[in-house]
Amino acid sequence: QAQEVKVGFAAEPYPPFTSPDASGKWVGWEVDFMDAICAEAKLKCVITPVAWDGIIPALTTKKIDMIIGSMSITDERLKTIDFSDKYYNTPTGVIGQKTDKFEATPAGLKGKIIGVQVSTIHQDYATKYFGPGAAEIKEYQTQDEANQDLAAGRVDAVQADSIALDAFLKSDAGKCCDLKGYVKDDPAILGQGVGVGLRKGEADLKTKINAAIKTIRSNGTYEKFSKKYFTFDVYGK
């Protein structure tokens, strides 16, 4: 009999990775990803939605056993919880009003107001590279709010994960704006990609997951379900 594992999802939707539909079913790329690795590792995975604020304590008090929630792996976070190997990594882009011409470089963003989502790697990156020249860096609780303010003209540029930006640019509200380019990579800040969050000291589970990720990468499963969502390779370099 398969081992039962409770997988914590952020209760707040993050399409196209995870979001519930009106009947309460979870759909998205990360759901397919979870199904794939659980099948591979012979785990019986149960989705347990927990609000983002409570997801870490839920993990440490064993209310859930792992987190699949687009969590970027950083050194700082590794002090507290454990991560599997990365399972996706996407480039970081900058968008702005169509009428406003500039490039996604420190020089191009000089004097602009830049919106980022709070506590993301993008915030750290923008602060380090654009902060000295930019007029202001505004922190938003959610990516959507930053995007809305860009449309309303209260910020000049928004830096974020290219997938999230892409979704916005394709929507009605995003008609105002276009992609200004991708930022120069800095692995020290932009990190080692997104991994599955795990409790420290559960080496057994970690090994299983890492093995499963490797397998689905090599046997084509990963590519197959990714095609439904993306036109490029989300795994990154």
């Binding site: 870490i56 440490t60 700082e76 507290t80 919106g115 709070v118 506590s119 505004k138 309303a152 209260r154």
Partner: protein
């Protein structure tokens, strides 16, 4: 529920008792042990990196709290009053205002004001080029207005009860001696009502203190937002929250003490 202490509240107010009674010493010892354990067994290495930002956050919180509750209270007094005295149309207006504000989540109001109204503003080029735009494009005016309105609505309700509760005879006495409506209000009705509402007002102000973090959703950064930041950066569960609790505890302690002081200015006989 013994009765001894209730008879002489004027002479042995709790504060007159020594801080060093045995049970208080015991409580303090327990508290010290908790602090010590927290400091010893938990991770605090992130603290120095965020110290400056935390101080700034506390300052922001205090500024927001102070102004929104002062201005909000000034609004609450007429809102409460017209509900007791009329005229009818104003009373209905005030009642409606209170119901709508109290009846909807603060987050929603904030959101409507900032993203709703704010983006309407940005559609008018005249506004965008006017001297107002530098303010309108910022977030804090929206945060301030929302918090203030919310406080006014809740306190309007409290003041309504307080105004209605002042013994009628005392108001009659004021009237009988030829006090004008305004003088009576200023000298008798308002002070009596405020005094009676103080314990509730203290609670409501503390609630307001805890509502201020919501402004983080519209990019006004307060102490709560800084702590969230720490949690996201480090994925630590309890340490940042405990620090936050401690900070709020101190702020609340100061607030409560201030209100208690005001309350004790006028001794009341209790039964």
């Amino acid at each position: 529920m013994s009765e001894e202490t209730s008879i002489l509240p004027a002479y042995i107010p709790p504060k007159a008792r020594s801080l060093f009674e045995p049970h208080r010493l015991f409580l303090m010892a327990v508290f010290a042990v908790i602090i010590f354990c927290a400091a010893w067994f938990m991770r605090w290495d992130w603290l120095p990196r965020y110290g400056g930002r935390l101080a700034y956050g506390v300052w922001q919180t205090l500024v927001m709290l102070f102004w929104s509750s002062i201005v909000g209270f000034l609004l609450a007094v007429p809102i409460g009053l017209v509900q007791v005295t009329g005229p009818r149309p104003l009373a209905w207006l005030a009642k409606g205002f209170c119901s709508i504000i109290r009846g909807t989540p603060l987050l929603l109001q904030l959101w409507l004001l900032y993203y709703g109204l704010g983006s309407v503003f940005s559609q008018y080029p005249e506004l965008k080029s006017s001297f107002l735009w530098p303010y309108l494009r910022q977030a804090w005016p929206y945060g301030f207005v929302t918090l203030m309105i919310s406080f006014a609505a809740y306190e309007g309700e409290v003041m309504r009860g307080a105004f209605a509760g002042v013994p009628r005879g005392e108001l009659e006495a004021a009237r009988a001696f030829g006090m004008g409506r305004f003088t009576m209000f200023r000298r008798i009705w308002l002070p009596r009502a405020i005094h009676r509402a103080l314990p509730t007002l203290a609670g409501e102000t503390v609630l307001q203190l805890k509502s201020t973090p919501l402004v983080a959703t519209i990019t006004v950064i307060d102490v709560y937002a800084i702590i969230s930041r720490v949690r996201q950066d480090t994925f630590l569960t309890y340490e940042p929250l405990l620090l936050l609790a401690l900070i709020y505890l101190c702020l609340t302690g100061i607030l409560v003490a201030a209100f208690r002081f005001l309350e004790s200015r006028i001794p009341t006989r209790e039964a």
